[in-house]
Symmetry: C3
Amino acid sequence: MSVLILHALYIIAITAEAMTAALAAGRRSMDWVGVCLLGAVTALGGGSMRDVLLGHHPLVWVAHPEYLLLTAAAALATIAIARFMQRLKRLFLFLDAIGLVAFTVIGCNVAMEMGLPVLVVIVAGMITGCLGGVLRDILCNEIPLLFRSELYASVAVVTGALFVAGHKLGLPHDAVLFASMAVGLAMRLLALRYSWHMPKFVYNEEWH
Amino acid sequence: MSVLILHALYIIAITAEAMTAALAAGRRSMDWVGVCLLGAVTALGGGSMRDVLLGHHPLVWVAHPEYLLLTAAAALATIAIARFMQRLKRLFLFLDAIGLVAFTVIGCNVAMEMGLPVLVVIVAGMITGCLGGVLRDILCNEIPLLFRSELYASVAVVTGALFVAGHKLGLPHDAVLFASMAVGLAMRLLALRYSWHMPKFVYNEEWH
Amino acid sequence: MSVLILHALYIIAITAEAMTAALAAGRRSMDWVGVCLLGAVTALGGGSMRDVLLGHHPLVWVAHPEYLLLTAAAALATIAIARFMQRLKRLFLFLDAIGLVAFTVIGCNVAMEMGLPVLVVIVAGMITGCLGGVLRDILCNEIPLLFRSELYASVAVVTGALFVAGHKLGLPHDAVLFASMAVGLAMRLLALRYSWHMPKFVYNEEWH
């Protein structure tokens, strides 16, 4: 049951990620192919990066190439409905938050099933949750938003840590899964609502 | 026979890619080491990315380190002959088009021999054909040209799709190989000649 | 014995790399999470890239997650002591040079133990020594310094080539290790002291 729900959340999340990435592509006047590529890379890049770093083959989109079609199609469809999406901004921020915590627990799960150390499990969750957006920003030639935004990576770390801790305590898988996602989701939505930010480090001396 | 021709096209193409990447390095005043590195990464990066994503080891340049020397030397030689290359611009655009379709069918072939699904085979071809240039643009701190240029990725997709379709139809390997490359090459050259572009998606609303 | 010294140099070097990366993060006003991430990626990214390209799993930080904590903590501590680091600039440039040659011989060693060709061994050393900084510059949205700085990649190539040559000549491992590191270190320090640079390639014609 929980597997089905998590899978549904995953499908919703990669679709939403691809659609917001398409808007980022549009801000840089990319062509339709660029829109599709940026959508697919953003939606599937975090999981791919995790699998490459952990040596976990085949990658998700190699085993399920239909996700490539889904994300590319979602990005392409965004071109047609972009004018309406502005009004749906809150919905998409909510779906993005769902994606962040769903990707994170999925990534933690992959690393946990590989028998990796606790810290690596948490990092695998963070990579899965956050690196799609980092790749999007690099391809858009921007400093990754992750490094400056509302508790994004922190939410992944907290979600992953709760997920791991629950398992170490021997709590039931489903309870751990949804509790860690719920806490992470609440944290992200509160951060968005009240503009919580991590403190910034500002340093102005040049070395070179 | 077709293996030999394809191999010769591959050698010509990585040399040409390294040389045009050297010019991009020169536009950013990189030093000689940077020129060599950018040349090698651009020429060999697409295939490396494919192999890393598919878990297909060893990578081409690990099995054939002489390609590292060839591409670095070609990039270095470009420094000496850069002044003449402007006049050869058409030749290099032609060689780049050859490289695009040759890399694509080689990439499709690798994925097909691994028994991967059709869609992954086509994507493997596109990655092989296009990602060297994306890496070059990222290292030059630019938005990848791929996302905005004349049918570049589209040519790879069409070439790869024809290659896969021909094989599925049971047509002879050599015929499929050269027919798909010929169609892709014609499409790219026509796109360059008549400045065909994919439509752009322009979107100006900020979300954040 | 030499293993212990090399390990100590590695620990010192990843700490120093994380700290200078933290200053780069501060120059772009990243938040504390960004500082930690940029520190860990810069310190551990070169070795990770080598292992991913060579298919050498598990990666260093997967086998030793304590290095993630060490580098993230070093980066975070840098926020507190940044004002004093300016005076320690020479020390950090020295530690960075130590890191460059230590990472390089470690990388060469990994590839040599995998039985890879000589040229790949040298390239593996260069990737280990230099790519952390390239990742840092990409994430900071800059053209990698590597492509324009004082003999950085060249030092890695010379260090790696001496290391490989010494082994091929059958000289004792420890002597080869420290001699190649000493030559590389001297070369880097002289390059810094006298501002030695590779010649630049400047090319101003546009092609597109």
